[in-house]
Assembly symmetry: C3
Homo-oligomer: 363 residues x 3
Amino acid sequence: MFPAIAGARSLQHMELSFTPAAIEALVKPCKVAGTTDSPIRGIASLESAGPGDIAFLANPKYRSAVAKCAASLILLPADFEGEPPAGQRWVFVDDPSVALTQLCRHVEALLRPRPAPGVHPSAVVDPGATVSASAHIGPLCVVESGASIGASTIIEAGSFIGRGARIGEDCWLGPRSVVGAHCVLGKRVRLQPGVIIGGDGYGYNTVGGRHEKIPQLGIAELEDDVEIGAGCTIDRARFSKTVIGEGTKLDNLVHIAHNVVIGKHCLIVAQVGISGSTVVGNNVVLGGQVGVAGHIKIGDGAKAGGQTGVTSDLEPGVSVWGTPAIPIIAAQKVGLLQARIPELFRRVGKLESALGLPKNPST
Amino acid sequence: MFPAIAGARSLQHMELSFTPAAIEALVKPCKVAGTTDSPIRGIASLESAGPGDIAFLANPKYRSAVAKCAASLILLPADFEGEPPAGQRWVFVDDPSVALTQLCRHVEALLRPRPAPGVHPSAVVDPGATVSASAHIGPLCVVESGASIGASTIIEAGSFIGRGARIGEDCWLGPRSVVGAHCVLGKRVRLQPGVIIGGDGYGYNTVGGRHEKIPQLGIAELEDDVEIGAGCTIDRARFSKTVIGEGTKLDNLVHIAHNVVIGKHCLIVAQVGISGSTVVGNNVVLGGQVGVAGHIKIGDGAKAGGQTGVTSDLEPGVSVWGTPAIPIIAAQKVGLLQARIPELFRRVGKLESALGLPKNPST
Amino acid sequence: MFPAIAGARSLQHMELSFTPAAIEALVKPCKVAGTTDSPIRGIASLESAGPGDIAFLANPKYRSAVAKCAASLILLPADFEGEPPAGQRWVFVDDPSVALTQLCRHVEALLRPRPAPGVHPSAVVDPGATVSASAHIGPLCVVESGASIGASTIIEAGSFIGRGARIGEDCWLGPRSVVGAHCVLGKRVRLQPGVIIGGDGYGYNTVGGRHEKIPQLGIAELEDDVEIGAGCTIDRARFSKTVIGEGTKLDNLVHIAHNVVIGKHCLIVAQVGISGSTVVGNNVVLGGQVGVAGHIKIGDGAKAGGQTGVTSDLEPGVSVWGTPAIPIIAAQKVGLLQARIPELFRRVGKLESALGLPKNPST
């Protein structure tokens, strides 16, 4: 989830470069040392950086890497001691991580500039919809009757906002988002491309061998500061609401069934599936491809490793793994012994022979 | 899959409310008792209902919950005995479940009114396509040459119907559906948003270490009354057809590979993947995240629990779980014992010590 | 992945038929024998073919099936001996597989004719984008500023190409493709419908219990001859690039996290998920629903069976299965013994009884 910083040349693909002076204007150093003429075209770790890159010392334990670093410019903490080699600029700041974030946000704004307020002429916005004057509705979007779009919200090309849906302020919906009828997004919600909010929940009554659809009359609601990854599907409730709590972040291709209620500040990694009516607490972490059964409760702060199958309630704070889920320490031991199960059968057979016991498993 | 009925206020998000009289006009009670002035703005279970809600007694075993129910209106079976408290209306009907369904269908039609017949002016419909006069083609849809759209079918905004595709009568395709060239949908087929029918099957010949694409010339066909969940992908066959049988229902993000043939009235839960050329019988139930190998047969009525890996044929009527799949009773026993496998190794070691046998696993 | 050739009538759904003469004009036989008047409307295996079908003898070991084959026309190797029955045409060619491929490519071009060069009038192409005169931009596509579209590339209806993205020559992007800002596609890249390239990577810094988004400034790059299945999501890197190597093929609904680097000529089957910063070698094969942890290395030519959970590095050339992954031979043995684990507990209990040892697992 939290990748190490990869190799150089991260700005080149955008045809961006910065002068050292431009970077210093952004990060406001307390002092500088050395000089470089090189334009900065990449951000990299101390180890992988080369000429034309900016590197940074975020963690004091990597101090010794500075001497070997080939970057043209290094962000350093104010108390770092030493002298830069020829052609390298040292830029001292209170907190190199904060300075790096400033720089990244600046680059992000160049990579993805905020589109201007207004509705693109190719968008189809129903006269009965309410769109804030500061919102942006991109090309070929559809906004149906009764929908409302909050201030400073950006809806990228080809998105669909169904009748009566309510999108809060300062949201950013990527291209080809779908927000179904009457669904609700809070403030600062981000949807990556292709997210589908408010498909019908999966519910049928089986009558005489045929599955009759149960109307799905509820909605899906995403609270403030939720982010949803590309291609996720979040179904509307049968009645009432499917809820994604404040600050919770979903990775790509996650499936959230109807009537699920997820708490605040959870991390739900890619390809997780959560079955209907399950209640997930706050600060829960579910690893990639985890499956969660329906109608159960996951306690606050519980964690499940990748591919876990959660088939019953989890107590707050537990860490589990495996299908069915067991405590992760036990699961790791089982995992290590797994390949030796054939050996165990042989050893038990030898014991039975030694004692003259029959091996017939049915006895 | 079949969620309990969740908390109150299920109609409020649509800004809907009903007078008790309007509800009685819909459900045609055999008798009534008590009075309420409250407009009805929610549907809820007996336990969770409050003032302004309608509740219902569908299962006689919950009779005792009626006395404690705070709903403003309760749907009751004709033979229910007692007196409503002040401010509560009792509405007696032959079958409260049927009455609830009538009410839900009415709400559904308000939530999701049928759009009027006709082609939205922003849609791009090829002159060589055939669109029934009673069909609705939403904004920014594309319908290619030779495609045909049946009577009373609704195609929501931004959908794509490829050349020669045939969509039957009374279908409902959600926003951003894709139906590829020459694919066929029967009658009353429903696609949730973002479904992709007829992507190429995954087939390559590996020649000299490079994978050469095998043309995928077949189609995908969905028979009558099929419903497909949001974000599913159903590939076209190499030759002939990938088939989803009559009345089968797929949940979200399911993957169906080329040449798969699924029978009638199956339930395929979210994130299942079925590999190429596998044949699935009728009335099969596959739990969430099940994976099915290619070129195998699943017998009628077989069931697989969540995350099962089905690697070989399943007999009709079996219930399996685990990877590789074993009968579910055995799998549940294994699941319970799993965490004790390290203990078993220790116990075998002690037995070997007691008998003076070597523990070396390689012997 | 490589389906057997399924039943007959594979061309009928396209309302295609060929005269035997038309087929012979395509495959240029070295000799012919027998006659048929039947138009050819299907392609089928020797066993399943009937009148109106073409069949073929690709593998000499099926020679004996020719005598029983009811096809109207059979493609045979030049050295095949015998006489056709009445009403059957034998068409001798150097290599029946090559002849079949010629025929299939011909049918493919009819199924999916190349659209003419040019930009559909309903597409929204920024004046700052560069579109080759020989490229096709379908209806209701969006191409943002600074994007470039190479020669002979086809972009089907409703696709989105973000600012500064670069699409090479001879690519084919299916309907509703999304290529995010600055992402790069090489030559002859194919996207099935609904693919999402360049969603933000999943990265947050957790500060005081809240997850703060880490800007994702990199791109995703697909090298030459890559094909991506329907509904896949490939995230952009934090810095630098997420890379899919030359000739690698992804099946449907695969998730590739940020900073993943996949080598050349890999096969990644449906619903696989690969976590951030993992490096996958060349010629790797990952079965359906495999999950791969972050920050690990998969060696060249490694293979993982369906649903495997790869939690640590894999050596080149290994074959693994299970979660956690172990060598496939061991995993298959464990799989066979799995259902007998309850039996093993009983047998150990009997041994303990026989020796008078206590069974208490905690001792």
